[in-house]
Symmetry: C2
Subunit: 424 residues, 2 copies
Amino acid sequence: MSAAHGNNMNDYIYKCFDCGKTYGKDEIEKNLVYLCPTCGKVEKNQPLKGILLIEYDYESIKSKISKESFFNYELGRFWQYDFLWPLDSAKLASLQNELEKISLPSNCFQKLKYEGKEFFVLNDTGNPTLSFKDRASSLVALKALELGIGKIATASTGNAGSSLAGICARLGLKSIIFVPKNIPEAKRIQIQSFGAELVLVDGDYDLAFDTCLEISSQKKWYNRNTAYNPLTIEGKKSAAYDIFIALKGKLPNYIFVPTGDGVILSGLYKGFWELQKLGWIEELPKLIAAQAEGSNAFARYITKNKFEYESAVSIADSICSGAPRALFLGAKAIQQTHGKVIVVSDKEIIAAQKESAREFGILLEPSSSASFAAYKKFAEQEKLQNETALLLFTGNGLKDVSSLLKWNEKIIVLTPEQIKEKYL
Amino acid sequence: MSAAHGNNMNDYIYKCFDCGKTYGKDEIEKNLVYLCPTCGKVEKNQPLKGILLIEYDYESIKSKISKESFFNYELGRFWQYDFLWPLDSAKLASLQNELEKISLPSNCFQKLKYEGKEFFVLNDTGNPTLSFKDRASSLVALKALELGIGKIATASTGNAGSSLAGICARLGLKSIIFVPKNIPEAKRIQIQSFGAELVLVDGDYDLAFDTCLEISSQKKWYNRNTAYNPLTIEGKKSAAYDIFIALKGKLPNYIFVPTGDGVILSGLYKGFWELQKLGWIEELPKLIAAQAEGSNAFARYITKNKFEYESAVSIADSICSGAPRALFLGAKAIQQTHGKVIVVSDKEIIAAQKESAREFGILLEPSSSASFAAYKKFAEQEKLQNETALLLFTGNGLKDVSSLLKWNEKIIVLTPEQIKEKYL
């Protein structure tokens, strides 16, 4: 990545991660282009080629905003620093009441202690649809409002869909969600409840992805397919800024990231990279990708420097991805920050889910507890001393009660007499 | 209620709602007394007698704190104005990190629009356990910490129990939850996941209530039974303060309150009554109790001025109560504020649940959507013009996915060809 052109704080361009070509914003946005027009490619069971990244005029921003003044922005309200978002400032200013409806809770930042050691948490389980994905859905939805498009489509295994459906309902937009036919009932219900049009595709996520692309392109709906729409990565960078603000610039040494398609990794990296471009941080936190044993494409790619498709299976369905769409970008995030991949088993994920509910009072869905499981493993391997760590908690456990059913034992019914006998 | 004694801002006494006798705080708290020692009574299928209310030295507070300075406190962090809470200031000050873990989200206050008319919402569906009940559980748990008691017990039909279990896990306390044997599985799982000891009582909520009282009294556990422990009402008054702060004192004309046992009504009324004692508001908002047709004890009591037990049944299980524990106090809250009861059918509750998900992007459990259903009915009956209204949204719909299943239709699976045929 390199500095963008322009002399306006709000100026930005699109730049291809793979071939490096740059494009003006109108060329991309007004034509509903998502991947690089030169080298972009969607292939079955392959990572995406030609993901576009957004670059701002960092020199201009730097000359006008100081690091200290930046700390005055509130957590969870990223649009307040509109000069770092690909949105029209005037349009944004007219949306105050809408923005209030999609603001994230300011109590998302917490300090927890486990086995005598403290760590930080960015807890997104209280977001509007109880998921980190709201960060991406919100930015995409704001762009649709700006473009005057009333309908947004996405392919989803469940969570991105319920996030988009909920955010669209809050903003008065219509959503159309393409899901594979085997979607769990509870996730289907969340999507439908928000009034989304649900399209149950007779096939897997890949087929839902392709079908969604084809229909939305022809119908001129705005498309939120994860990694494909550059604003999904851009939206997730808000987590980097929230961490920066909450810690007043004293970033943790390690950040543990539940990793499936690589978009959270990519977004975080983008945010920290920008903070470095602005001269506000020197070093980037090491990004530690938490992957499930049955869905470890990043671990394999980093070791072999080569992608080979393997179908994925894990209890942590939100990070299950045989062909991570943002594999190359996510892997760069790990490598450039001197991070690594930690692979955890489903058993370790469940144990971490149980422990986080009991020790911290936070119900996590399995993909989120993967980051805690990876932290536990890493802390033991590396004998962490004074290094600081932050964990992303990305999804609420109530989005997937069935996983909680797996480890809570049945309780027997007792009469008052039996209860007295037991306790008194 | 009348002014309390003392010359310290943090001074408070307990006063019986029924007989008016007052008691020093040590006499009540150190002896683990909950109802009035003179007239308090727990009877089967009857409202509680002798509920204790806490009174502060309002004159002293008034002389030291101005209304304008009070608006600087943050939403969802009630302990910041410690002079209005029955807690030891020095102890509180030592608990900063713990308090952070139980803070409520500051984005709880929203302005929504329905059929062209705006109203406010206090949205507690993003609270730590996704429920309004966290307000009561938090205060009770802080008192247990102050008293040095490590175990808290409560009887619950599900929601109070999962709230107490989650808050206790966050604060390192142990919880023991007594529930009737027919508790829905999802609620059982939430309680157990947080590591609570679950006691499945072979009977109904009343039997769970009595059994919990007996065991916790003998074991010297702290007891959080709703309405019985005065801090449950006191904790819920925080909603009145949050509304006051969010609206900078310009209170709404009407507040719609999902009403089962009457404790939310009682807590809100207590909070507004205090604001009036402090001279910060002139008039109290009219409290409108939203009740389900099958659980309408308040409607019957207000009409006949007499309580007769009737068993209750409604899809809105959290406001299902045949014998509301805080009936007399809750009824006073309605009458003194010139409010009323609006009764809505289960069908109206479901329609409101659907509408709030689709129009506002907020998933509510049925008891919460009762307040929206009541608002809709009231707005139509009364032809509301310039009057302002606020609705309490008290519980997240994901706490009870089964209710969402009732109205979301099955979707048929389509092949890509069928999808193209449908849309293109």
